[in-house]
């Protein structure tokens, strides 16, 4: 079996920077021969995790660290911000019926990450948030 390959990046807050992380992930996945369907789902996980990290960082010049560890069986995505943290238990589950009649239609990132991943761990305190996402690739 191929050994793990890793990629680490520190992302500044500039528009669409999550696409840079996705590009790195794509190159790793192609090297490992990962199916397109799984790569597409990993795109969603990375995109939502990075956007979430910047949105909740509460800093004027935030950075987000992202690390991918991949083998042919599994992808581990680690995302770290240095913001004020949040309580994942206090995040309301979005519901399309309620969103349709609401002025606030956002707030889907956590649900997408929970549903599309195989495991999701969120650790958050006043020094920032660490999200670990596991995606099975077989």
């Amino acid at each position: 079996m191929e050994p793990n390959i890793k990629l680490k990046m520190t992302l500044p807050r500039i528009p669409d920077i999550e696409l840079v992380a996705i590009e790195g992930l794509d190159r790793m996945a192609r090297h490992m021969g990962i199916p397109e369907e799984k790569i597409g789902e990993a795109h969603v996980l990375v995109t939502e995790a990075v956007i979430n990290a910047f949105e909740h960082s509460g800093q004027s010049r935030p950075v987000v660290r992202i690390e991918f560890t991949m083998n042919q069986e599994k992808l581990i995505i680690f995302v770290r911000d240095y913001g004020k943290g949040f309580d994942p238990g206090a995040v309301e589950q979005p519901d399309i019926d309620k969103k349709l009649s609401s002025g606030h239609k956002r707030g889907w990132g956590l649900k997408l990450m929970e549903t599309m991943s195989d495991d999701l761990l969120i650790e958050s305190d006043d020094k920032g948030t660490r999200i670990t996402i596991i995606k099975n690739l077989k």
């Binding site: 795109h43 956007i51 519901d95 239609k105 889907w108």
Partner: protein
């Protein structure tokens, strides 16, 4: 890398076809909602959203489509997504959009479904 967002529109009969390309992000979602609003004000209430050239979306961009669906629902309109990449289809499904909008594998099939 996924290209910058762009939006093309076409009218066929009383159906508005909006074709996206590139990353459907916050700005892309706003553009979709804004262009839709222009046509909606002219009376268009049947829409095909062709996403063949978009492979990456984010939930903020897609949340603007909920706004489009809400306005269409208010006057018995209909939205059909076409040419969805599997991960985008799964994203829309998790968000519950297919409770209020349909999907087809091509624009032609979407137009046929609206006929």
């Amino acid at each position: 890398m996924e290209a910058e967002f762009a939006l093309k529109t076409e009218v066929r009969g009383d159906v508005l076809i909006m074709a996206t390309s590139g990353y459907v992000n916050n700005d892309g979602g706003q553009q979709i909602a804004s262009v839709f609003e222009e046509y909606h004000a002219k009376g268009f209430s049947r829409v095909v959203m062709d996403m063949k050239e978009s492979k990456v979306v984010n939930s903020i961009g897609i949340s603007f489509l909920i706004e489009v669906i809400e306005k269409l629902n208010d006057n018995n309109g209909k939205l059909i997504f076409a040419n969805l990449a599997p991960s985008i289809e799964k994203t829309l499904s998790i968000m519950g959009l297919f409770n209020y909008a349909a999907k087809e594998s091509s624009v032609d099939k979407a137009l046929a479904a609206l006929a």
